[in-house]
Symmetry: none
Subunit: 218 residues, 4 copies
Amino acid sequence: MFEKLTEEKKAEILETGIAEFAEKGVDRANINVIAKKAGISVGVLYKYYTDKETFFLACLKRSLDVLNSVLQEQITSSDKILVRAEKIVRAVQKTSREHTNYIRMYNEITSGGNRKYAPLLAEKIESLSATVYTRFIADAAKNGDIRDDIDPRLFAFFFDNVLMMLQFSYSCDYYRERFKVYCGAGLVDDDEFVASQLTKFLESAFTFKGSDVKHREK
Amino acid sequence: MFEKLTEEKKAEILETGIAEFAEKGVDRANINVIAKKAGISVGVLYKYYTDKETFFLACLKRSLDVLNSVLQEQITSSDKILVRAEKIVRAVQKTSREHTNYIRMYNEITSGGNRKYAPLLAEKIESLSATVYTRFIADAAKNGDIRDDIDPRLFAFFFDNVLMMLQFSYSCDYYRERFKVYCGAGLVDDDEFVASQLTKFLESAFTFKGSDVKHREK
Amino acid sequence: MFEKLTEEKKAEILETGIAEFAEKGVDRANINVIAKKAGISVGVLYKYYTDKETFFLACLKRSLDVLNSVLQEQITSSDKILVRAEKIVRAVQKTSREHTNYIRMYNEITSGGNRKYAPLLAEKIESLSATVYTRFIADAAKNGDIRDDIDPRLFAFFFDNVLMMLQFSYSCDYYRERFKVYCGAGLVDDDEFVASQLTKFLESAFTFKGSDVKHREK
Amino acid sequence: MFEKLTEEKKAEILETGIAEFAEKGVDRANINVIAKKAGISVGVLYKYYTDKETFFLACLKRSLDVLNSVLQEQITSSDKILVRAEKIVRAVQKTSREHTNYIRMYNEITSGGNRKYAPLLAEKIESLSATVYTRFIADAAKNGDIRDDIDPRLFAFFFDNVLMMLQFSYSCDYYRERFKVYCGAGLVDDDEFVASQLTKFLESAFTFKGSDVKHREK
DNA sequence: AATGAATGAGAATTCATTCAT
DNA sequence: TATGAATGAATTCTCATTCAT
């Protein structure tokens, strides 16, 4: 594979595919157009990728690899969970602005057409963060950093849900418009404020203990 | 329009469309196949809907109308926010099981291909819950039911994000697989446990005040 | 046939067809649209006309009947040929303005699509004027009103050719534009001048004898 | 464009289109059939021509180019007008027999369906002959070769009308049948006689002066 | 008899994929 | 090996015609 293509050319082809898929969606993107834009012949493309699907998956892989490397930085940190949550939120904002198309690729597979790959892809893509977040939350609960009456897997899931929605809300058209409907166009670009509010949201979600409420309500 | 088609036939056609669109996505669904499955000729379909797009939008509308009527019940309730949150969570679970395809239709428009409609649809679809949730949260903050150092629009947004992800996680393939990756197949069907955990998550997210943490951390 | 339809309704339906066929051409005219515009159901239309073709032919017949009745007036005249030629030219101009659509219907059958009917239609439509013009010219030649070294059939043919082109040049889009290209937009509406010039053209075409030229050239 | 298609193949495709369009008319001709007859796939056809319309226009252009090149020979001649008229008449006869389909293509655009292109096409197609004929007639009038009490534009128009009808009468079904109705099947193939008669018709139309008639009539 | 909803064959067009050069 | 022209199956959409009411 790629015997003759330089790494750079490989990357260029994939990036062209990513741009096109992100822009039009898998089905409406045109392989011939992608090849032309990438400055290669369809023949080459089909030499390295069996079919459109395979090529899409390769584009997807590249997108997720980049997104993952960003995640890695966060994961290897040794901050406490709440500090880390804030950092992740800000990292997500940054990534959303810098790698819009990668996130759109990610979003693309969450829609119905790609049903077939769901199990395989979900496993590949989500395992790492699922494991990391779950362990983290479990540890934090043990340490008393956060409440301990929770299921770490579910809270990891909720946590990632919130982040995933944030990503999409910055990068994908529908989600972005929805963001505006909820908060007005102004907030969509006020990263600082959104970050501080979401941090609050997550912080208290993790920290508060139900009993406290009742206590205070007295 | 629809002079001869009974309401039932109308509904059957739309439901067939919904099933097909939810299963295959807009682009891979085939109008001729839908017509055949609905037991009508393509001609009829095109008599009532200008083109595939228009038909898809009609299917989408029907889906959202049903989903909205479920939401309405929650909205008209007079419970306090946290009680209501729990009810909504459980309603979402129920809806996800009963109206999987409607939710898939909703999910369908969040994907890239439908870029064109994003602004219009987001406005139409999200306005109601945005308004209701925001008002609710603002009131609750004023009443001291929840913390008051928050932006109601953003917290309404975060709240709906969590619910939206829950819906998709029950109904849409990729999200469902991801749910399993995070929590294992068992939890996906343990509605009771998931509901109680998510309620906790939301409850504390809304109630806790940051200062308390620091206090306890001492 | 037409047992129930009044003459007026019959006429209205045909006129609607004529308008539509003249506007769009046989193939692009839509039977359902015609029925709707005529205020009847397609069913009625198909009760009286086997198919689109038959209906078109009926519309054509009506058009030609009207055009023919105009011709009749000229034919029954007892003027000398040159006087008559001028009258016909002016009649053609008048008809072209008043019955544009009928002429367009006529033009419609001269185009390739209607190959099938050519022999039948030509016989039906052209016989009368062919006979009349030929006899006329033959008589005029015998009487010395016009040159006598001509074939009356061919000169009748040339004569009608000139008139046919005049009709089309006033009524049919392409011919009209061509008229403008040749003479400028101004002349297209200067009926008086065109008539006098065309009369000259025809008059001399019929009257002059070749030998005279050579004579004068000396 | 046409990188791989040889000139010959290009020509073959266009000729196939011309044959089909000439035979059936634009609307009844079928692109898939044309492709098959031309021994290519529809895909190729659509690679070189955006749509059916564009392809038709290309076929039309080819037809007119050929017809025009024939006209060119006549135009560059330096004969006196009457000599030239006869040559043109004979050229038209020859062209009509050799390039029947090209003339049918020309005829095709004079029918109602192609309304849209009328202005553009008329300008493109008729300008040259309009200019040439008009100038010619004006010069001839000045030189005393023909009568001088005429409008050169109108006489050029009448002249071309006569030629156009001759073309169609040899090439297009309806006109051909009409020709027979007027003159009998025998004359349609007696080119010599028709040419001599038409030459007479044109010659006298151009040469005679109205006053002469009255003179002779005395 | 009249209606117009329903039918479905047919036609234009697209584009993933192949393969001769 | 690379190219990109060629393929043709697949899909959307139209509209003449039918026929149940």
